[in-house]
């Protein structure tokens, strides 16, 4: 027994980081996010070749058959690069959902996910709560209503949709009666949308029209761990940038890194981040190996990373001074990425309230 990444996991992480550093630097991120869907087909295919897109897809369907911890490492690397890639919905939520699907569904979708031949969007906000008048309802086999904040909707060919706050339907983007409207957020590296359903016939139910008990809890738990991992990666990057900047920026005749105040800001950031990394690892591990703790740990990871993440990207900006506030400098890409991660699938207060309820408190 040991509490550490395996050599394979370190290798996966290294190869991803190397690829992202070389092929998706901030300049490239800016190009991709300026496109309509913020989707780069080549980047997505490359992620498949690196074994990332299919990390959770069983080997029999062409994937790597790995666990959520591996997926979290991928998500973390994407967060570190602020990479625009529909990994969360397609490669985390998709396979977790399809694990409850029929053999036919699995055979149809999982190989395409692993090969990065498709993109999925995930309309799961309603599993957490309803804002405004949102809500998708089923009646006589038809879907009506609105789903807000659909994740990775930019280039999605189909959507996993929470219906009646419990069941999950799979709906093609071009289904009759379905309208997707982009919602612009602060974070342009990922695309969120609103889906409007008017008497839409669902293509499929995942696990049948009656739904699968616990499936909603499972996708939410996986999604929240992945979002926590994304914050983790983004914060790593923000700290790296702050430390590097402090070493080279000279004020009052010396690098600002020699000022105790600047040092301590950096120390406080890393002191928050490192234990949080261990928490994310454990939460991801628990998802597959400690089912009784999986949901609680996903909530802790999501809420805790949201809180410290917000603080870290703010502090990193302060260390940069004015330059970190400019659009020209890249730091704000991570600042905003963490801002979106914080709210998706429930902000920290929401998530902690769920945690308390789970305890029966």
């Amino acid at each position: 027994m040991d509490f550490a990444l395996s050599d394979e996991q370190k290798l996966l992480e290294q190869s991803l980081r190397r690829y992202l550093a070389e092929s998706v630097p901030a300049t490239r991120v800016r190009e991709i996010m300026a496109t309509e869907t913020a989707h780069d087909a080549k980047l997505w295919r490359d992620l498949a070749e690196l074994g990332a897109a299919g990390v959770l897809v069983p080997e029999v369907h062409g994937g790597s058959g790995l666990a959520l911890l591996d997926a979290a490492l991928v998500q973390q690397s994407l967060g570190h690069a602020a990479a625009p890639a529909p990994f969360l919905a397609t490669s985390v939520l998709g396979p977790i959902a399809f694990a409850a699907g029929t053999p036919a569904q699995q055979a149809e979708w999982l190989p395409r996910i692993a090969a990065a031949q498709t993109v999925l969007g995930a309309a799961f906000t309603e599993l957490v709560h309803r804002r405004d008048a949102a809500g998708v309802r089923e009646s006589n086999g038809r879907l009506d209503g609105t789903a807000l904040f659909v994740i990775d909707a930019g280039a999605a060919a189909a959507f996993l949709v929470a219906v009646d706050r419990a069941r999950i339907a799979l709906v093609a983007r071009d289904a009759a009666g379905l309208t997707a409207t982009p919602l612009a957020t602060i974070d342009a590296t990922r695309r969120v949308a609103e889906l409007r359903f008017e008497s839409v016939a669902p293509a499929e139910w995942i696990g049948g029209a009656a739904g699968v008990p616990e499936l909603a809890a499972r996708v939410l738990a996986a999604g929240r761990v992945a979002l926590a991992a994304d914050v983790l990666g983004a914060c790593e990057r923000a700290i790296e940038m702050a430390v590097a900047y402090a070493k080279q920026r000279v004020q009052f005749g010396r690098p600002i890194a020699t000022f105790q105040a600047v040092k301590h800001l950096c120390a406080e950031m890393i002191a928050e981040l490192e234990p949080a990394r261990s928490l994310v690892w454990y939460a991801a591990h628990a998802f597959d190996h400690r089912p009784e703790e999986a949901v609680a740990m996903s909530l802790h990871a999501k809420a805790h990373l949201a809180e410290i993440g917000t603080q870290i990207v703010r502090t990193a900006t302060e260390v940069h001074g004015g330059i970190g506030f400019t659009s020209e400098h890249d730091l704000h890409l991570w600042f905003k990425r963490v801002g979106l991660d914080r709210q998706l699938l429930g902000g920290p207060e929401v998530v902690r309230a769920e945690g308390a309820a789970l305890h029966g408190w």
Partner: protein
């Protein structure tokens, strides 16, 4: 401690209300935020009317075009309250009336006062501030933009950054290195520079908010008369530090926090989650109450500081801490608004469902910029500790 609104003040308030009621249609659009660069006819006419009634440039001496009233905090409070309540423009503001004019009154020559104060308070001349540079951020005395003498002129070369309204301004007041041999602080002069002078280039500077609130200003062989120095040559550092103290009267900033807090309350009453209002969530509500106390503390603290400054008393360390907390509270107000909205709170850029034109995210990011700006929080803390608490400076590096 006398905060009573006696009959004189009630009359003042009643007159003001009547005035606003009668004339509000003549006010320029855009709410109560004082315009910093708009010279359209409606704005100038409105400002003229306000000055005539003593509702703007109120304490500026008559001979320079002001209303010439004695300072009176309570009237200042009433003005802020009533313009805010009416949602009507309080006239021309910005760095000219708020920073340059007090500086000229204190340090300017009679000729400079005569020439600049009137047009500035009337809104006819718009100013921008030229202090920060790429290598003079928190270390402001490190200004590199330099002026060499050439006859009666200076010839200016260099670059300023973080210059708001530079693209709209007629004039800049700035710190320029005119005495190369006088060391960091002693080498600077406070110079008035016409922005139309050949050799000045203004480039917008984008920020994380997605808007260009700032500019960079480049100087290439820009000729400025030496007579445009305010005070004496080499005194720029001292004069700029006085100006910083004048920076936008503190009541206004606390008033901004109050207005922002009121909007937050409204937001939390209207935003719902599963049909429950945000304000009914005890955890968010607790954060709201924490902020309300902070906003109140900022408000009464600004009244205390303004009282001291009007009495020409030195309030000591208490005067140095305002800046540190104001932007922080603004940031926290916006952070709570965003959390109360949840996913709706990260919408931006004209998105469907966007609340208040994205004002909250803008405030969240912009207030962070302000925490950084005007000397980072770190520098502010040094100043508080050294000037305010008498703690010794760091020993010089070997």
């Amino acid at each position: 401690m006398d905060l009573s609104f006696g009959p004189e003040y009630e009359t003042f308030r009643a007159e003001l209300r009547a005035f606003l009621e009668a004339h509000r249609e003549r006010a320029p659009r855009g709410g109560i935020v004082a315009a910093g660069g708009s010279k359209d006819a409606a704005t100038l006419a409105w400002q003229k009317l306000l000055i005539e009634h003593g509702y703007a440039a109120r304490t500026i001496p008559k001979q320079y075009g002001g209303y010439g009233a004695e300072p009176d905090i309570l009237k200042r409070v009433i003005l802020d309250e009533e313009f805010a309540r009416a949602g009507v423009s309080a006239g021309v503001g910005g760095q000219g009336p708020d920073m340059l004019v007090p500086t000229l009154l204190e340090h300017g020559s009679e000729e400079q006062k005569q020439r600049w104060i009137g047009p500035t308070i009337r809104g006819e001349v718009v100013w921008c501030q030229g202090y920060s540079e790429p290598n003079a951020g928190s270390d402001l005395a490190n200004v590199q933009t330099r002026a060499s003498e050439d006859g009666a002129d200076f010839v200016v070369n260099g670059q300023k950054i973080w210059t708001t309204t530079a693209h709209l301004a007629d004039m800049m007041f700035g710190l320029i290195r005119t005495e190369p041999n006088e060391g960091k602080h002693g080498g600077l002069s406070y110079l008035l520079i016409p922005m139309t002078t050949p050799g000045i280039e203004v480039r917008p500077l984008g920020t994380m908010t997605g808007r260009a609130e700032f500019n960079e200003v480049f100087f290439t062989d820009v000729r400025v008369p030496q007579a445009n120095v305010v005070g004496r040559r080499g005194e720029g550092w001292k004069i700029a530090n006085t100006t910083l103290k004048h920076e936008r009267n503190m009541l206004a900033s606390a008033g901004g926090l109050e207005a922002s807090f009121a909007r937050l309350v409204e937001l939390m009453k209207s935003e719902t989650r599963d049909g429950r209002r945000a304000i009914d969530d005890p955890v968010l509500r607790d954060r709201l109450l924490r902020l309300e106390a902070r906003v109140a503390a900022a408000k009464y603290h600004s009244m205390r500081m303004l009282t001291a400054s009007l009495k020409k008393e030195f309030p000591g360390v208490a005067a140095l801490v305002t800046k540190l907390s104001g932007c922080e509270i603004s940031h926290q107000i916006a952070a709570l608004a965003i959390d109360a909205m949840g996913e709706l709170g990260v919408l931006y850029d004209g998105s469907k469902h966007l609340r208040a034109f994205g004002m909250w995210q803008f405030q969240y990011m912009f207030s962070l910029g302000l925490i950084i700006g005007g000397g980072t929080a770190q520098i502010q803390k040094n100043i508080i500790a050294e000037r305010g608490l008498g703690m010794p400076r760091e020993p010089k590096a070997a």
